[in-house]
C-alpha cells in the first residue's frame, strides 16, 4: 500500500500494486479499504472515491485535526490511514456483497452497429460474440467518465476490440460498448469511441433516486440477452 498526495486537498491510497494480475481480488481489497475508511469517519474528510486499485480521499486541509506532533494534514492523514488499513490483513471476504445486478441487453439491429467489427476482430461469428458477451460475469471497476458510467472488467479476452479511430459525436443512452479490454454502458447521450454492440432499457443514472447511479464500484453484473420486443416493453 502506498499513499500519495493528489494536490493539497486530496490523496490517493494505492491499495494493490497490479490490477491485471487478479482484478477480482484487487477490487475486493479496494472495497474493503473503502469500507474501513468510511467507517473511520476521519474528521475533515469530505468523500472517498474508489477506482481499480485505488481509493481517493478528498478532504479540507483546514479541518483535518492536527495530530500530537503537529504534522501537516497530509502526513497526519497518511498515518491515520496506514494504521487503519494495516491493522491486520484487510478483510477480503465478500462480506455484505449483494447478488449480481442483472442488466437486460438487446443486441439486435440498430443497437449493434459495431457487432460485425467486433466479430471480425475476434475471428468469431456474430452469434458467438453475443453468446460470450452475455454469458460472462462482470464487475464494476469504477464509475465515471459521465455520471453513472460503469467500467466493467470480466470481458472475455477474445472480445477485446480497440476503440474506434473516430469517436462518435453522439451515442444514445443505454448503449453497451466494448473499449479495449473493458465493456461499459453509456448512461446518457454522449460522445464516445467504444464499439457498440447492444442497448439496455435500464436507467443507469437518475438524480431523483437517493442513490443516483445504478452501479457502484465492486458491484457484480450479469448481462441478459433480450429480444427487441422485450426491450420495447421494458422501455415503456
Amino acid at each position: 500500500m502506498r499513499i500519495e498526495p493528489l494536490g493539497d486537498s486530496a490523496l490517493i491510497v494505492r491499495v494493490v500494486d497490479e490490477f491485471a494480475l487478479d482484478p477480482d481480488a484487487s477490487l475486493s481489497a479496494v472495497l474493503a479499504a473503502l469500507r474501513a475508511l468510511e467507517a473511520a469517519a476521519i474528521p475533515g474528510v469530505i468523500e472517498l472515491a474508489p477506482a481499480y486499485t485505488t481509493v481517493a480521499m478528498f478532504f479540507d486541509p483546514a479541518r483535518v485535526a492536527p495530530d500530537e506532533i503537529g504534522q501537516p494534514p497530509f502526513d497526519s492523514l497518511r498515518n491515520k490511514i496506514e494504521s487503519l488499513l494495516n491493522r491486520g490483513p484487510v478483510d477480503r471476504k465478500p462480506k455484505g456483497e449483494s447478488a449480481a445486478i442483472e442488466v437486460p441487453v438487446c443486441y439486435e439491429g440498430e443497437f449493434a452497429p459495431d457487432l460485425a467489427e467486433v466479430a471480425r476482430h475476434a475471428g468469431l461469428s456474430e452469434d458467438e460474440v453475443l453468446r460470450r458477451h452475455s454469458s460472462a460475469s462482470y464487475r464494476v471497476t469504477c464509475v465515471g467518465f459521465t455520471p453513472g458510467f460503469p467500467f466493467l472488467s470480466g470481458l472475455p479476452s477474445e472480445l477485446a476490440t480497440p476503440r474506434r479511430a473516430m469517436p462518435r459525436k453522439e451515442i444514445p443512452a443505454g448503449a453497451v460498448g466494448i473499449g479495449g479490454a473493458q465493456t461499459g454502458i453509456y448512461p446518457r447521450k454522449s460522445p464516445g469511441g467504444w464499439n457498440l454492440i447492444g442497448r439496455t432499457p435500464l436507467r443507469l443514472f437518475d438524480v431523483q433516486r437517493e442513490q443516483p447511479a445504478l452501479f457502484q464500484a465492486g458491484d457484480r453484473v450479469r448481462l441478459r440477452k433480450i429480444s427487441r420486443e422485450e426491450f420495447d416493453s421494458l422501455s415503456r
Binding site: 494536490g7 494534514p73 465515471g144 467518465f145
Partner: protein
C-alpha cells in the same frame, strides 16, 4: 419573489459551493469555479456561505427583482452598476424593486460571482443547487440562464442589512482586495508535484516551471487547455484511471497539459504532472483563451498551511462583519 433575467449574457449559471459526496457515482463536485469568491460575496450580504448565487462568464448580465434585494459580487474585472451607480467588487449594494443590476463584460478576467440576499432558491438536487452542465441537472432546469428566465429567490430580502448604511445605497465595508478582485495578468500559479511527476523527463519538469503556457479556445468549466512546450514522458506505460481533482494538471499523449477546473470528470487516465494549489484556484478560474500562465513550485505543507491561514482570515472576516451589523 424572484429575479427577472433581462439579459443572461454569454454563459451564466446558478452555482453554490458544489455537490460533494457523489464522486462514487461519477458526479463531479462542481459548484462555483471560485468557491471562495462566492463565499465572500455571500458573507458581505449576510447570506450563508453556501447560498446559491450566479456565476457570470464574460457579460452582459442584466437582472431586476420584484422586491428589494442586497447584492455583492467578486471575481474578474467586470463593471457592475445598480441603476446609474457603480457597484465595486466586494461591496454590498441595495437594489430597489424594479431597479436594474448590470454586470458588464470584464476588461480582464472571465468570471464573476454574484450573491443575492436570500439566495437563489432553486430545488436541491443531490444536496446542491449548483448547475451540473455536463449532467444537465441542478440549477435552473440543469442549464445556463436564458433571457427572460425567472429565478426564485429566498425570503430574506436583506433590507435589515441595508438599513445599517444610513442613506447610502452601497455599504462601505469590504473584504480584502485579493479576495474580491482575482484577475492577475500572466499569473504565476503555484503547484505541488503530482503522482506522476517522476514519469516525465527532466526537460518536461523544467519546461513546466520555466515557460509560459497559453490558454487555448477549447477551455471551459471542465478545464483550461494549455499550449506550450511538449511535456514528454520518460515512462510511457499506460495508467489505470483514478481520481482527479480541480487543480490537477494532466498531460494527454500530445504533451499539452490540461488544467482541470470544478466541473472536471471524477476520474482520468492521463498522467498528473502537478496540481495547482487550492488558494490559487481563484486565479485559475479567471483564465481565458489567449491568456498566459506560468507555474512555480511550493511544498505540500506550505500549500496546506495557506488553506488553513485563509480559513482563519475568513473566519475573522465573518466575525468582523457581524460586529459591523450588531
Amino acid at each position: 419573489m424572484n429575479a427577472l433575467v433581462r439579459s443572461a449574457g454569454f454563459l451564466t449559471s446558478v452555482q453554490d459551493l458544489g455537490r460533494p459526496g457523489y464522486r462514487q457515482s461519477g458526479v463531479s463536485a462542481g459548484g462555483a469555479l471560485d468557491s471562495f469568491a462566492l463565499r465572500v460575496a455571500n458573507a458581505l450580504i449576510g447570506n450563508e456561505d453556501n447560498a446559491a448565487g450566479l456565476e457570470a462568464t464574460l457579460g452582459t448580465l442584466r437582472l431586476c427583482f420584484n422586491d428589494e434585494r442586497v447584492v455583492a459580487w467578486c471575481g474578474g474585472g467586470f463593471t457592475a452598476r445598480i441603476g446609474d451607480e457603480k457597484l465595486p467588487p466586494g461591496h454590498a449594494g441595495l437594489v430597489a424593486q424594479g431597479q436594474e443590476l448590470v454586470l458588464t463584460a470584464p476588461e480582464k478576467g472571465a468570471r464573476a460571482w454574484l450573491a443575492i440576499s436570500g439566495g437563489i432558491n432553486v430545488p436541491l438536487v443531490l444536496g446542491s443547487r449548483s448547475t451540473d452542465l455536463r449532467g444537465n441537472f441542478g440549477g435552473l432546469e440543469g442549464r445556463t440562464l436564458r433571457d427572460g428566465d425567472r429565478l426564485p429567490l429566498g425570503d430574506d430580502g436583506g433590507s435589515e442589512i441595508a438599513a445599517l448604511w444610513g442613506s447610502r445605497k452601497i455599504a462601505k465595508w469590504t473584504a480584502p482586495n485579493p479576495w474580491v478582485a482575482t484577475t492577475r495578468r500572466a499569473p504565476f500559479l503555484r503547484i505541488v508535484q503530482g503522482p506522476e511527476w517522476n514519469r516525465f523527463t527532466a526537460d518536461a519538469q523544467t519546461a513546466l516551471l520555466k515557460t509560459a503556457f497559453a490558454v487555448t479556445p477549447d477551455s471551459d468549466r471542465m478545464g483550461a487547455r494549455l499550449e506550450g512546450p511538449s511535456l514528454n514522458r520518460a515512462d510511457t506505460r499506460d495508467l489505470l484511471s483514478e481520481a482527479v481533482a480541480p487543480g490537477t494538471l494532466q498531460v494527454p499523449p500530445n504533451g499539452q497539459p490540461i488544467l482541470l477546473l470544478g466541473d472536471c470528470q471524477t476520474i482520468g487516465g492521463y498522467p498528473k504532472i502537478a496540481h495547482v494549489i487550492t488558494v490559487d484556484l481563484p486565479i485559475a478560474a479567471q483564465l481565458w483563451p489567449g491568456d498566459l500562465v506560468r507555474f512555480s513550485e511550493v511544498s505540500l505543507a506550505d500549500a496546506q498551511e495557506l488553506v488553513r491561514e485563509r480559513e482563519e482570515n475568513y473566519a475573522r472576516f465573518r466575525v468582523g462583519l457581524s460586529l459591523h451589523r450588531s
